[in-house]
């Protein structure tokens, strides 16, 4: 293999890093323009109140203030739509500024533009908003009570949707859930509470809008994960042609899903820029991020599993209440729906029933976040498996072995309606158990307990539905967006390769990864491939854009686009070499006649000829470029297994992670170095949610966690060393065999830790059924003596 072959699978260092570590990155906050002015947003201090009026006259008089907007100024401006509209889901939208009513603390009420952010914030204090406070509901239980205050009056109550997921087999025939429970030797029941936490990127959201009087167009520099979708939505909210908006993304300091959504500020900066004919900048501060950017995850789950004496799980049924916050955000109850269809996990559980209830509360809207409903399901499934094992007196590893879908059973049709492409779940578990030396840990456990060391071992297996998703399936489930990814490849007259992608690098090394795929396909040096991203005027349309698990879709698009360009090179090359195209192959960075390596042209030779167009095959168009839009044929199901080993301090309830083993399988790996980084980051984020992170509200709907003193992210001290292991089971659907992997690390930490702590405290019958697993929680679960 020559140096320019086999780029897929190489541990290439991230090409993004050098400028970033030299401080030469360019983030939204770094952008500055002549005559630029700054926006600040007045946010509701009330969780629920009638908004009787907003008097901005004093703010307008403050020197340095240019403009003030309230909802009264927004005639003709629409609301941000809910993109995912499941059948039966009540109507909702995100207003740009609150009109008549505020529904959560932090909801935008007015906005000011001034000469500096300081003056703009001074002006906010001069705005007199007249609120008539209303009773609040801050959890699903109180929101569902008879006579509860109704947040969205048009709904009549606080229920956004009741959606039933009936268990079905491959033919669509319903299972026999009642029969499964009737036949069970044991039934385990649980009430799980998943905490409200979210993606908290190092870089908050940031925007600079600039109206161009020459073109009558608007350029928005935005920290969005999906510039094309943002453009589409802005055009509809602002009522302008999509072609008049150009969205550009500078460097992003993380996204994690929360920068996938569109927000009121996106429209506000554009409106101000149009009104003032000046560039308008808004950089979200951390307080705003915690109370203005979407939250995620919060669910109450009441579930039960029917278990046979031999450990077979005969069925799972139950209800999930998703705390949606005050508005249905762009993906609606999508994440909770994903949880609702996923509770059978990687197990051969044929009888299933789940009811998903979306509930409005006076809290920040809940929406997209790394994992998207999956980790909530993993927590529940893996806790139920653990409880089932205890109920029938088997080792939890044994119960998993008993129930796994086997490698020869793919494609597997899950009871929740999913189609699984490929997997080897038993191998991932066995590898994790072998690496952690499970049998030895079990032997050691009793002896340690006698010495007062309460060590627990927790398994968390997961599947991760990645490559979201085939457009026709998005259509079937009411998701008003598309799932394809386009790629254009242009070979310039010198033979240099530039790829154009709608993906936006969020920090995960997208540029490196995609350049590797192209270098591999053309047999050229990785450093000779340029990647263009982050500009709607240059890059192919994507309705879905960057998500942690979509590099596989983009990579597949590049594979296919490369094929188009290679085929054209062969046709032109064959013509120049005076051979038949079927006798010419693309090899090692050029075209040559089969069996006659001396009859060869480099890609540069072909490109030059293609651009000069002096001598092309009949009917062949000049230039050398190719485009392909890859719409995934199917979801790809990545999977793996985590094992956590913890010691629990009985006196304080503190949990110390002794070991953390990860086995991940995400199909073909493009760059092992980046995969390891993604897994480590995902696990760290999962551990944050499992142990520390939670948005806490008081009974009046005041958000108490509005700074990093109170919203606690894991730091270097809290994240343990991870022992990472990779296995590869290719996807039969994706060209290249790739599966998505950026979210995978996030799925199991909650389950593995809850299982480990419960295992450590088995002598006391402690069951950890909620997160975050704080020392206070653990202590409160221990018997007091």
């Amino acid at each position: 293999m020559s140096a320019n072959e086999g780029w897929i699978g190489r541990r290439v260092q991230r090409r993004e890093d050098l400028p970033l570590i030299q401080g030469k990155g360019r983030f939204a906050a770094d952008l500055t323009m002549p005559d630029m002015v700054h926006m600040a947003v007045l946010r509701s201090p009330h969780a629920h109140a009638r908004l009787l009026g907003v008097d901005t006259s004093k703010a307008r008089e403050l020197p340095g203030v240019f403009d003030v907007l309230t909802s009264a100024d927004l005639d003709g401006i629409g609301e941000f739509p809910v993109l995912w509209q499941l059948p039966g889901q009540k109507a909702s939208g995100i207003p740009v500024l609150a009109r008549d009513k505020v529904r959560y603390v932090g909801e935008p009420v007015a906005a000011v533009v001034a000469v500096s952010r300081y003056v703009a914030e001074d002006a906010l204090e001069l705005i007199e908003a007249d609120y008539d406070p209303l009773p609040t509901v801050v959890d699903v239980e109180s929101a569902l009570k008879a006579g509860a205050p109704v947040i969205n009056e048009a709904w009549g109550d606080n229920v956004a949707i009741r959606h039933i997921v009936p268990g079905i087999d491959a033919t669509g025939k319903a299972g026999d859930i009642d029969g499964a429970f009737a036949a069970a030797d044991a039934v385990v029941k649980a009430r799980f509470k998943i905490n409200r936490f979210s993606g908290v990127p190092l870089e908050t959201r940031g925007l600079v809008a600039s109206h161009d009087p020459l073109t009558h167009g608007l350029t928005l520099w935005s920290s969005s994960q999906v510039a094309h979708k943002q453009r589409t939505q802005l055009a509809s909210v602002l009522g302008v042609p999509e072609s008049s908006i150009r969205v550009m993304t500078p460097n992003l300091g993380g996204g994690f899903g929360v920068k996938w959504d569109c927000y009121p500020e996106d429209a506000l900066v554009c409106l101000f820029s149009q009104r003032l004919q000046r560039p308008v900048k808004w950089i979200e501060d951390r307080r705003e991020h915690l109370m203005g950017t979407v939250h995620a995850r919060e669910q109450v789950q009441e579930l039960e599993a029917a278990v046979a004496r031999d450990g077979t799980i005969l069925g799972i049924r139950g209800k999930i209440w998703a705390d949606l916050g005050a508005h249905i955000h762009s993906v609606g109850i999508g994440p909770a729906w994903v949880t609702g269809v996923s509770l059978t996990g990687q197990y051969r559980i044929k009888n299933y029933y789940c009811e998903v209830i979306g509930v409005a509360t006076n809290k920040v809207p809940s929406s997209t976040f790394r994992g998207f409903g999956g980790p909530e399901a993993t927590f529940a499934t893996e806790r139920l498996i653990e409880k089932a094992a205890r109920a029938v007196g088997l080792d939890p590893a044994e119960v998993r072995r008993k129930n796994f879908i086997q490698p020869d059973e793919f494609p597997w049709f899950s009871a929740g309606g999913g189609v699984f492409d490929s997997g080897n779940y038993p191998a991932a578990l066995e590898k994790a158990l072998e690496e952690v030396d499970y049998d030895h840990l079990r032997e050691e456990q009793a002896g340690l307990r006698a010495k007062g060391v309460y060590r627990g071992i927790g398994i968390g297996c997961y599947i991760h539905t990645s490559g979201f998703g085939p457009s026709f399936i998005l259509g079937l489930v009411g998701y008003n967006t598309s799932g394809y990814e386009g790629s254009s490849i242009k070979v310039d007259p010198q033979g240099g390769i530039t790829i154009y992608t709608g993906m936006i690098p969020l920090g995960q090394g997208t540029e490196t990864t995609l350049a590797q795929v192209a270098a591999d396909q053309f047999g050229v040096d990785f450093n000779d491939v340029r990647v263009v991203w982050g500009d709607t005027s240059q890059t192919p349309y994507t309705g879905f854009g960057s998500a942690g698990s979509r590099s596989n879709v983009a990579a597949a698009a590049i594979l296919k686009a490369a094929e188009v360009v290679r085929d054209k090179s062969i046709r032109i090359g064959a013509h120049l070499l005076e051979a038949a195209p079927e006798d010419v192959v693309y090899e090692n960075g050029g075209v040559q006649v089969k069996g006659s390596p001396e009859k060869r042209l480099t890609l540069g030779d072909v490109a030059k000829a293609a651009y000069l167009a002096h001598n092309l095959p009949k009917g062949e168009l000049p230039t050398l470029e190719g485009t392909y839009v890859y719409d995934p044929a199917m979801f790809t199901i990545a999977f793996g297994c985590h094992v956590a080993v913890v010691d629990v301090d009985l006196e304080t309830g503190e949990v110390k992670i002794v070991r953390y083993v990860v086995v991940d399988d995400s199909g073909t790996i493009i760059n092992p170095l980046l995969v390891e980084g993604q897994i480590q980051g995902g696990v760290a984020m999962g551990l944050g949610g499992a142990l520390l992170e939670e948005f806490v509200y008081d009974e009046n709907g005041q958000l108490l966690t509005t700074s990093f003193m109170d919203y606690l992210l894991p730091s270097i001290h809290e994240v343990p060393h991870m022992e990472l292991h990779q296995q590869v089971t290719v996807s039969p659907h994706t060209p290249g065999g790739f599966k998505g992997m950026g979210e995978a690390g996030m799925f199991s930490p909650g389950a593995a830790l809850a299982n480990a702590v419960s295992d450590a405290l088995l002598p006391f019958g402690v069951e950890v059924d909620r997160m975050p697993i704080t020392s206070n929680l653990v202590w409160s679960l221990l018997p007091k003596s």
Binding site: E651, M709, E718, S775
Partner: protein
């Protein structure tokens, strides 16, 4: 998260600083390390008309020993205290506790005088200085006074400091050679404010415990002496049974608050556990 506008003064002599405080004390704030004040400004929770930045005032940042006392200038950075050989040998409890304050970047800015004047009830320094029976040297244009730490500390971020006064130094009696100490706290993450903590200093009287000063902090209105626990162990031989008595006396005496990070009940329990851990540090697993 931008502060409202304020006037900024940066005096270069102590007298100038005191003159500014005398003139503007009621609506001025002293800027020392800024680790608490600057966030309060950015959240607009503190809105002083004027900041008096004393970082340029000479003579406030030394550590010295004289007449059985360690004197630490108010502007001495926490990181300097943490790494001072003099503090390590003469006031090892202070050195040990300093490592629990925030993180190195915070300690590189944060000062001992600022910590005291801010008097966060979850802060390590008020508690440790109470355990060490420190004195606080205070100056204003009216003159100088020395207050015992107990009289200095008020409840919930308040102190006995007048609006025209500045903490100049903290003075710690070195005391008996036969002294020992313990420091323990539980925080959600390394460097966070304590959910509960205990700072304790003991003297030894042969095989018996001599004097005992046990201070609880975190979730209570101010650093608080656990006198019942002190009384329970004073003059007795240290052992686990005695430590258990101290635990019970401590938990009976304290009534911490509940907030989003921990319940009062848990904090009370932790305080008892941490008293025992501090005792074990001081006397070994007796």
């Amino acid at each position: 998260m931008k502060p409202p506008s304020f006037a900024y003064e940066a005096p270069e002599a102590l007298d100038d600083a005191l003159a500014l405080l005398d003139r503007h004390g009621d609506d001025a704030k002293v800027l020392a390390g800024g680790q608490s004040l600057v966030p309060l400004l950015n959240f607009r929770l503190a809105r002083p008309a004027r900041l008096i930045d004393i970082n340029g005032v000479p003579g406030l940042a030394s550590i010295s020993e004289r007449d059985g006392t360690i004197s630490i200038g108010a502007m001495t950075r926490q990181r300097t205290i943490e790494t001072s050989p003099l503090v390590a040998s003469r006031a090892p409890l202070l050195a040990a506790a300093t490592r629990w304050i925030g993180h190195p970047p915070i300690r590189t800015r944060g000062t001992i005088g600022g910590s005291l004047a801010h008097n966060d009830p979850s802060g390590e320094y008020p508690a440790v200085l109470l355990a060490l029976d420190a004195q606080v040297r205070i100056r204003s244009q009216r003159g100088e006074r020395v207050l015992g730490i107990d009289a200095f500390l008020g409840e919930w971020l308040s102190t006995a400091l007048g609006p025209d006064e500045l903490v100049i130094a903290v003075e710690i009696p070195i005391g008996s050679k036969h002294a020992t100490y313990g420091f323990a706290e539980v925080a959600k993450r390394h460097g966070d404010f304590a959910l509960a903590g205990v700072a304790a200093r003991f003297t030894l009287d042969g095989s018996h415990i001599g004097d005992a000063r046990i201070v609880a902090f975190g979730g209570v209105a101010r650093a608080t002496r656990l006198t019942a626990a002190e009384d329970a162990i004073r003059g007795r031989v240290p052992n686990e049974t005695l430590f258990g008595e101290a635990n019970r006396a401590a938990t009976a005496a304290i009534d911490p608050i509940s907030d989003l990070h921990a319940t009062g009940e848990y904090r009370r329990h932790l305080t008892g556990v941490l008293v025992v851990r501090a005792l074990r540090q001081a006397f070994g697993e007796a």
